[in-house]
Symmetry: C3
Subunit: 110 residues, 3 copies
């Protein structure tokens, strides 16, 4: 009964750069420009990924190479349409799509 949507999860590092600015900022702003319904970026305290280095807040004094997880929500067509733009930006990160059911909000059902 509720609409099927997708979550797009993108895993990058806080220190990753895109045109001389933080990659995660560039990604969230690009998703906004591309009219994706919503997105958030969250910084983690510890993580590892593709290049298999362990990151930890404060470890070795490297406080700015923490993992950042970006989560976007929209219908499948919209999210698949932004994947080429995301692929061009996310070189060392990881991206996954997850099925989700949109719970209609109060404004739409009332």
């Amino acid at each position: 009964m509720n609409a099927q949507v997708k979550l797009l999860l993108i895993f990058v590092n806080e220190a990753d750069q895109f045109h001389n600015r933080p990659l995660y900022q560039a990604i969230v702003e690009r998703l906004h420009q591309l009219d994706v319904a919503g997105a958030t970026a969250q910084i983690g305290i510890m993580g590892f990924g593709h290049h298999m280095r362990m990151h930890h807040k404060g470890l070795f004094g490297i406080a700015d190479d923490r993992p950042v997880t970006i989560m976007a929500v929209d219908d499948e067509a919209r999210l698949r349409a932004v994947l080429p733009a995301m692929r061009a930006m996310v070189r060392e990160g990881l991206m996954v799509l997850v099925d989700a059911e949109l719970i209609a909000d109060a404004r739409r059902t009332s």
Copy 2:
């Protein structure tokens, strides 16, 4: 073999209020009162959503309008039962349900 459960993800803003207190706090406490098995609230550093304003930590000095993601876990019946209460609280946010498989914990299998 393992139980099927659901994740309920709710996306709001840190500055959203419910009866003169932070909405995210009201949501987590309501989920607790309604006996949902578990829930967490995480603050992001950047995001945008329904009302299509871009939020960023510290941007324009607005440090308190960051995105907050609430994640609750329980079986489907329990989470669907709390949706009316959540809809009444989450006016500008977004809610989705995601399928998950509960991994039985050590206490139950030993």
Copy 3:
């Protein structure tokens, strides 16, 4: 067309210990040792879980008992293979597996 993978979500508390160190650190390092493709740990500001105590940042001055969410990504076989190790470490936490579709990265498709 894209590979199916899984997300493993583990919910613990910041104050949980494993062999006299933070449990979440031990979990992320164990996932790394077991060659899981990627993992992140994120600290929340509020939450509750199995033992049904409400946690809140700064509440009662307890700043270190916040919820921690660990998210790992890999193919299903790899993640199921690490579950026994995770079960042995996560005594009071909650673990779930979620289906996801891996979006091939730029390096692989170019």
